[in-house]
């Protein structure tokens, strides 16, 4: 029972990370993702490395099942019961549009209008019940929805964040007659002001429940059948894990599960290696995902849109995506300008070099033509060898000829433009958070990121990059590292001066009780438990709130609530940090309470991953001509995993491993650190 397993199911590959703490070893596996049922690849991946599932103590899963169901609109047929006059909130959104320019496009919510039924009931903003809920109408609505074949029902009433009584009574009545567990209330899912965001989150949760809980049940059953007797957990978008039954109840919290795990792993690896400020760049087939970790902490955003109009409000690791991935297509527009994306060849048909029918050049094709990717050993093992000539021909026709460049120069041009876009995303993410990117390290992960490391250093002005030892399975590794975390929110909406301290204290206590109960129920051991509170606050008249961290003592699970003076001081500090000045005579308002209860899981020693023995000479597997700038260089090719700790490799060099290629440009130097990471910096900057 000493093995911990992380499984990340991505769009193309399912990655498995197996940590055997007792033996001090780690292994990885990469298998094709199976569709539509991802459980096939999941079990296959584990089976490649572990024959006896009873040896496994923990399986942690980063999943895109929920995200895919949302993007492909493959959730369940569900119904909504809502306040009279408000059935269209889900469809009206916040009066936005898909794109700034063009005015094209429409929107269909996941629940069609005839399955959104209204009942008499009304709660006012101060919590007063103006109209008690008509339970006969609720039952009649339920009967109609069942008749229409709905598998889940969501109750969403106006102002239920302020008083949940009408919703609670409706849900109680429904649970007596609804044939399954899939009955939810907006005040249970998200007791927070803003009806569209709350309704959308609740509806999307209900939409996912039948699908995701079925998928997770199948996985759990298959694991148990194989002899697995440990804990099965799921990564949430906030970067923490939750028990599988919580995930079945709150599947909407898995929306960014996999990418979040990657950022968690990146943050841990970087901080162990001595970099607390790091910007991660995950380059996949269609996108480049940027995330920022400052002082060892990843940024959380309060909500995200999975697609236009599909808002999920629950804390998520903040990840900014631009459409510049390995499969992004390079093209020359009518004005003669070279563009990259947003159109992508994805993984099917993929780049021209994959020989699967695409004939328009991609970023990966440029890397292939310049010798940066080994055509003889394509990632994932699906292909025999890459079609270099095809890639070169496509670049010549679509980019080289229109611009009057030879294919190599055209390929360099594609990379320069792609790199400039990626660097732009990194700069913008930093500026938007108020940071100067130059003081950060860059950590590429995903299959393609490490090919572009040097360019990111040069374009953004970053001093060094750190390439993790297994960049292609970072998300799977993050599954093993992530803490267990539950987030809670409750709208307070009161002036600080008139704040009901007892009510605040009881909300805090309730959050702590529920959070600790979930930790207690887990069969995992925790090194420590952490409880953090924040208040969303603003001056009266401002709609934009600032997050105010509040120091609160919790002794043996009992909360000692903060005083008004303490809250006022905390607000002033946070406001000053955000805006630089306070508002004279401003009246402070408390909008929401946010609580996070975290169980810190034991961290494994990254040294486990470090290479043992070896030498740079033995790791050298040959030479290849690689194009940098405007010329070809004879370039040393190393087996990256065979390089010993302390190895120093001067560019130009390429470090290869099964799922990743690390490029060290001529002016750069790579050094293998104590954990097997490769730290890359300018030659003159490294001793």
């Amino acid at each position: 029972m000493s093995k911990m397993i992380g499984v990340d199911v991505g769009g193309t590959f399912t990655d498995v990370f197996v940590l055997d703490e007792a033996a001090g070893t780690a292994e990885v596996a990469k298998v094709p993702t199976t569709r539509p049922d991802q459980s096939g690849g999941f079990l296959d991946g584990i089976g490649q490395r572990v024959s006896d599932l009873s040896e496994i103590s923990v399986v942690v899963h980063g999943t895109t099942a929920g995200t895919n169901a949302l993007l492909e609109r493959k959730g369940a047929r569900i119904g909504v019961i809502t306040t009279a006059g408000l059935r269209d909130v889900l469809e009206m959104r916040r009066r936005d549009r898909p794109r700034t320019w063009g005015l094209r496009g429409d929107f269909e919510p996941v629940v069609p209008r005839d399955l959104r039924l209204e009942v008499p009931e009304r709660v006012l903003a101060d919590g007063t019940i103006r109209t008690p809920v008509d339970l006969d109408a609720v039952r009649a609505a339920a009967a109609e929805l069942l008749d229409q074949g709905c598998l889940a029902v969501a109750v969403m009433f106006a102002n239920s964040y302020a008083n949940a009584e009408n919703e609670a009574r409706a849900v109680a009545a429904l649970r007596e007659i609804w044939p399954n567990d899939h009955v939810s209330a907006s005040s249970e899912i998200l007791p927070e002001i803003r009806e569209f965001e709350r309704f959308s989150t609740t509806a999307l949760n209900a939409y996912l429940q039948p699908e995701v809980s079925g998928y997770l049940d199948r996985l759990e059953l298959a694991l148990k059948d194989g002899g697995f007797g440990g804990e099965f957990m799921i990564v949430q978008s906030n970067g923490g894990v939750m028990a599988v039954d919580t995930a079945s109840r709150l599947p909407v919290r898995t929306a960014l599960s996999g990418p979040a795990a990657g950022v968690i792993a990146a943050g841990y690896i970087a901080s162990e290696a001595g970099f607390d400020d790091v910007i991660t760049g995950d380059m996949g087939g269609t996108s480049f995902d940027v995330s920022l970790i400052a002082g060892g902490k990843s940024m959380l955003s309060p909500q995200t849109s999975i697609d236009f109009g599909m808002v999920v409000r629950s804390p998520m690791i903040e990840i900014t995506t631009i459409g510049a991935g390995g499969g992004s297509i390079a093209w020359v527009d009518k004005g003669g300008l070279l563009n990259i994306g947003p159109e992508s060849a994805g993984s099917t048909p993929g780049p021209v070099a994959y020989g699967q029918g695409n004939d328009r050049p991609t970023v990966t094709d440029a890397n292939v033509v310049l010798g940066r990717i080994d055509p003889e050993s394509p990632i994932g093992g699906k292909l025999e060898r890459l079609d270099v000539d095809g890639a070169r021909a496509a670049i010549k026709v679509h980019v080289g000829d229109p611009l009057g460049l030879d294919p190599e120069a055209a390929a360099e041009a594609i990379l320069r433009v792609a790199n400039a876009r990626m660097a732009g995303a990194i700069r913008l993410v930093s500026i938007e958070r108020g940071f100067d990117p130059k003081r950060f390290a860059f950590m590429p992960f995903g299959g393609g990121g490490a090919l572009h490391t040097g360019a990111m250093l040069a374009e953004v002005g970053i001093g060094r990059a750190i390439v993790p030892r297994y960049p292609g399975v970072t998300s799977a590794m993050g599954c093993v590292i992530a803490d267990m975390r539950q987030d809670f929110v409750q709208t307070i909406n009161a002036l600080l001066d008139g704040l009901d301290a007892d009510a605040l204290a009881s909300f805090m206590q309730d959050h702590v009780d529920r959070g600790l109960a979930l930790l207690d129920a887990a069969r995992t051991t925790f090194q420590a438990r952490e409880i953090a509170f924040e208040l969303d606050m603003a001056y009266v008249g401002q709609t934009h709130t600032v997050s105010v961290p509040i120091d609160v003592t919790v002794t043996h699970g009992t909360v000692t609530p903060p005083t008004q003076v303490e809250i006022a001081k905390a607000f002033d500090d946070a406001y000053l940090r955000a805006y630089g000045r306070l508002l004279k005579n401003g009246v402070r308002r408390v909008m929401n309470l946010r609580s996070a209860v975290t169980g810190k899981r034991p961290k494994f020693d990254l040294g486990t991953l470090a290479p043992v023995g070896g030498s740079a000479e033995a790791a050298l597997k040959g030479q290849r001509r690689v194009h940098f700038g405007d010329q070809w260089f004879d370039t040393a090719i190393y087996n990256r995993l065979d390089l010993p700790v302390g190895a120093v490799i001067d560019g130009p060099a390429i470090l290869e491993q099964p799922d990743t290629t690390v490029l060290i440009e001529p002016h750069l130097r790579g050094t293998v650190d104590a954990y097997g990471n490769t730290v890359i910096a300018a030659k003159e900057a490294t001793p």
Binding site: G85, L86, D88, V89, E91, M92, R94, R95, D96, R97, R99, T100, W101, G102, L103, R104, G105, D106, F107, R113, D114, R122, A125, A158, N159, Y161, A162, I193, R194, E195, F196, E197, D333, K334, G335, G336, L337, L338, L403, G404, E412, A413, V417, A420, R421, G424, R427, L428, I431, E432, N493, Q542, T543, H544, Y579, G580, R581, L583, K584, G586
Partner: protein
């Protein structure tokens, strides 16, 4: 072009310069105090030509209407600086005068010359919508204004900073003339910060590439935008197409105001001639010339969304605005209601362009901002003002039905959540819903408008005003599509429901506790003939309650009744 520039450097430079503008946007959004900038992104930044003021590069996240209007602000400063004759590095001009800078007086414009090696290289500018700039009503939307002085204080271009030294006297004047000085100071600091960042980024860019390459890049980007525009126009047939639509009235007299355009394409050029448009009117639906030209730009960019935000786009296009018309009103004509006028300009441009290229153009959107204010005093004497804009349907397109409940084409602002409004003000929304039968019929119908019914909960009652349009003239379809439902506003009095005499404009509506107002907004126009719509799609709209059976048969015939219910 003086210096030749290679295509790769050009592509990289294009991204880098767009990035500078984007970073300036981000800097202000983060620092701004007022939610109109911080959340609704009613602001914009860019780089402008040193002598012409033409837009070189503009940020992608700011408000669409600013894309065309900012160059006028810069040109105004160029002219003023020429008068002064001593433009220096570190100077910053500030002004809000809408008659020379476009839009309305709430938009505060900061313009800063950028020098490299002692020589003027280009201008950087920042515009942001301040929360309050004095005038008769808080927030500066005065529906009864008959001149600019009733709308806000008017600041011509003046030097806020000389050689890097800020003139605090000007800040003192500004802060004494706004009801919300803290907010204004916060926004001003944010705009100054954005300009500082722009200067730093330009320094880095020029250090890396050298001024000649960057200048050559800017020239090339302008030429490229022009080439793109010309190739788009070249692909369209030659001809002349006209369209006329109407504003209901100016809020003072109930006379319809025509807005007419003749769109002419000859080879790779286009002319938009607004001859036949109503003359300057008494009420605040006039606009200044810069606003009119910028609006043409917005319409063009909606038709050709992939074109860059660069003045080169407009080189092949002539915009002719008749002297003395409501589209070229002179100071001090009131312009506070400019949104309604420019929305109608966009509508007629769409209607005319659709005749030339039906598949490129979407039908008219709902076409009114519907500024609705409900205000009063609470029992404790504290005043409250709920002021918001409301959404409607977008037009159908060659690809799909129009978007239900979208934002105006000139803006990207979202609507505040109902619960936030109910928590802040003593009102209750009895309806916040789609409006059935509001979409213009068509092969692809328009998007649905909305119904908002709002009850006053305050014992003291309240007073309401509305500034809207499309109460007498419906949003039009294109390519044979039909018109949408018109705007409708009703308010409750002791003797029942009433409508405003001027359709969608009225102030001083007294409401008692328990009385309501109901705003029903237009949908979007339809695209293509209604006969082309699939009966199943019609049946679905009926099943969803978006279309009544009677209207369905009226517009689409009865084929839909034979569809099986899905």
């Amino acid at each position: 072009m003086s210096t030749e520039i290679d295509p790769i450097t050009l592509a990289v430079l294009a991204g880098r310069m767009e990035q500078i503008a984007d970073e300036m946007d981000a800097t202000l959004f983060r620092a701004a105090f007022n939610p109109i900038i911080a959340e609704a992104h009613d602001a914009s930044h860019g780089l402008y030509h040193a002598t012409s003021g033409d837009t070189l590069v503009q940020g992608k996240s700011g408000l669409p209407i600013f894309v065309g209007v900012m160059s006028f602000a810069v040109k105004a400063v160029i002219d003023k600086a020429a008068e002064h004759g001593d433009l220096a590095d570190g100077d910053i001009y500030i002004f809000n005068d809408a008659h020379i800078g476009g839009t309305h007086l709430s938009d505060m414009r900061l313009v800063r010359p950028y020098f490299h090696d002692g020589k003027l290289f280009c201008y950087l500018a920042s515009v942001g919508h301040w929360h309050d700039v004095g005038g008769a009503v808080p927030g500066n939307y005065n529906p009864a204004a008959t001149d600019a002085f009733q709308e806000a204080f008017v600041l011509p271009p003046v030097r806020l900073a000389r050689g890097g030294e800020v003139n605090t006297d000007i800040i003192d004047i500004l802060m004494r003339n706004t009801r919300l000085p803290q907010s204004a100071q916060g926004d001003l600091n944010g705009q100054l910060g954005a300009l500082d960042l722009g200067v730093r980024r330009m320094d880095e860019l020029l250090a890396e590439y050298g001024p000649d390459t960057v200048r050559a890049g800017l020239d090339a980007l302008g030429e490229r935008a022009e080439t793109l525009m010309r190739s788009e126009l070249e692909a369209l047939p030659d001809g002349r197409w006209e369209a006329t639509d109407y504003l209901d009235n100016d809020g003072i007299t109930d006379v319809a105001l025509p807005i007419t355009v003749a769109l002419e394409i000859r080879g790779d050029t286009m002319t938009l001639d607004f001859a036949g448009t109503a003359p300057r009117c008494a009420g605040p639906v006039n606009i200044a010339l810069p606003t009119a030209v910028a609006t043409a730009y917005v319409a063009i960019k909606h038709i050709f969304p992939d074109l860059p935000a660069n003045a080169g786009v407009m080189r092949p296009i002539s915009v002719l605005i008749p002297e003395g018309s409501m589209l070229s009103a002179k100071f001090p004509a009131p312009v506070g209601g400019y949104t309604e006028t420019i929305l109608r300009m966009i509508d007629v441009i769409f209607s005319a362009a659709a005749q030339a290229a039906p598949d490129r153009v979407v039908a008219n959107a709902y076409g009114t901002i519907n500024a609705l204010s409900i205000a009063g005093k609470r029992k404790n004497g504290q005043p409250w003002v709920m002021f918001s804009f409301y959404g409607g349907g977008h037009g159908g397109s060659s690809e799909s039905d129009g978007l239900n409940h979208g934002n105006a084409p000139i803006s990207t602002a979202t609507i505040p959540p109902m619960e936030i409004l109910e928590a802040a003000y003593p009102v209750m929304f009895k309806q916040w819903a789609l409006r059935p039968d509001s979409a213009g019929p068509g092969t692809h119908r328009g998007g649905m408008g909305a119904v908002y019914e709002i009850e006053v909960l305050e014992e003291n009652g309240a007073e309401a005003f509305l500034f809207g349009e499309r109460g007498r003239h419906a949003p039009q379809g294109v390519a044979g599509g039909g018109a949408a439902a018109m705007n409708r506003f009703e308010f409750e009095q002791d003797d029942g429901w009433h409508s405003p005499p001027l359709a969608s404009k009225m102030r001083g509506i007294a409401l008692r506790q328990g009385q309501s107002v109901r705003l029903e907004t237009p949908g979007g126009g339809g695209y293509g003939a209604a006969s082309g719509r699939a009966p199943a799609a019609v049946a679905r709209d009926v099943a969803m309650g978006l279309l009544s059976a009677g209207e369905a048969t009226k517009h689409y015939g009865d084929a839909w009744t034979k569809e099986p219910r899905t």
